[in-house]
């Protein structure tokens, strides 16, 4: 019986593995709670250029990338750019504190169980996905000048 259970578990795991979100693929919808505990759907941002940013308050490199994201957000949000930040914190308070400290004004949700990160095959953070207006993945882990170039192209 135990063997059968583990066989089923292994099967489930391999199904998840093949559901990897790749460049060109349509991003599956995400429904996670925001700081107020309300569900914020990724699909509610359709029609915008969306950067999905997996991060956590304890992740140094993620925090280091925030000033640059803040800059880009300020510059392009009125042109149709939105960031959907997904925190992998397990403590809501640490997450909220980091949002305050880093002055994050964009959509923020928390994936406390890590289910979305697992489904999206996130192997390390920060990991980001840039989606076009139709919700297709156009770039994975684009940052800095490369990200800005893509934004200009997609928003232009």
């Amino acid at each position: 019986m135990k063997l059968m259970v583990s066989a089923i578990a292994a099967l489930l795991l391999s199904t998840t593995i093949y559901a990897q979100t790749e460049k060109g693929a349509e991003a599956p919808d995400i429904q996670l709670p925001n700081v107020k505990g309300e569900i914020t759907k990724l699909s509610s941002l359709k029609g915008k250029i969306v950067l999905i940013d997996f991060w956590a308050s304890w992740c140094g490199p993620c925090r280091k990338s925030m000033p640059r994201l803040r800059e880009l957000y300020k510059k392009y949000k009125d042109k149709g750019f939105e960031i959907y930040g997904i925190s992998l914190d397990t403590e809501k308070d640490s997450w909220k504190k980091a949002i305050f400290e880093d002055g994050i004004k964009w959509s923020q949700v928390i994936d406390i169980e890590g289910n979305v990160a697992t489904k999206w095959q996130v192997q390390y953070i920060p990991t980001s996905y840039l989606l076009d207006k139709s919700g297709r993945v156009v770039a994975i882990n684009a940052e800095g000048a490369e990200l800005e170039k893509l934004l200009q192209k997609l928003l232009g």
């Binding site: 135990k2 583990s6 990160a117 390390y124 953070i125």
Partner: protein, 175 residues
């Protein structure tokens, strides 16, 4: 005869099915792609999935290739980290085990420490307690359950049981 040999080969290589690995280092292991990229390059690894909240990696091994845990460890170390914890899932078929005794399973030697005598059947999770597969404190803790030198060296000595050849790699595990 050929069929039998083939079957033995399959069961021999399929013994360690998967592993759960926690790495540690000066920086956060989940904030670096180095370990993930090193792991997916290991030839006997089928797939890797990070569990970011747990700071661990779930690894599954290819069915037709034997998993070498030393190579796995070296991949982590090559990425600039060390193994803080490694658990492996092994398939047993009525194996009798007891404290400070070794069993040979399809060419791999497992020396059990700090366990009750029992019979293992089906998939079992074993935790490695060898040096470089756990933290130094944990490794030392398990030294009290054996006086055998192989716990320090990881290699069978001449004094070891007749089932294992001198120089063979022995993994020290607990349940």
């Amino acid at each position: 005869m050929l069929v039998i040999a083939l079957m033995v080969a399959i069961s021999a290589s399929a013994q360690i099915e998967k592993a759960k690995l926690t790495a540690s280092g000066l920086t956060c292991s989940m904030c670096s792609k180095a370990i993930y990229e090193a792991l997916i390059k290991v030839k006997f690894i089928e797939s890797v999935q990070a569990n970011i909240q747990e700071s661990s990696y779930s690894i599954s091994f290819k069915k037709d290739m034997p998993a070498d845990l030393d190579i796995l460890r070296k991949a982590v170390e090559g990425a600039g980290f060390s193994v803080a914890k490694l658990q492996v899932t092994v398939n047993f078929d009525n194996a009798s085990v007891q404290n400070d005794a070794m069993i040979q399973l399809n060419g791999k030697a497992f020396h059990f420490l700090h366990i009750e005598p029992q019979t293992l059947t089906g998939a079992q999770t074993l935790t490695l307690v060898d040096e470089h597969f756990t933290n130094a404190k944990e490794h030392k803790k398990f030294a009290q359950y054996t006086s055998m030198k192989c716990f320090v060296t990881g290699i069978a000595q001449a004094c070891c049981s007749k089932d294992v050849g001198v120089g063979q790699r022995i993994y020290h595990v607990t349940i």
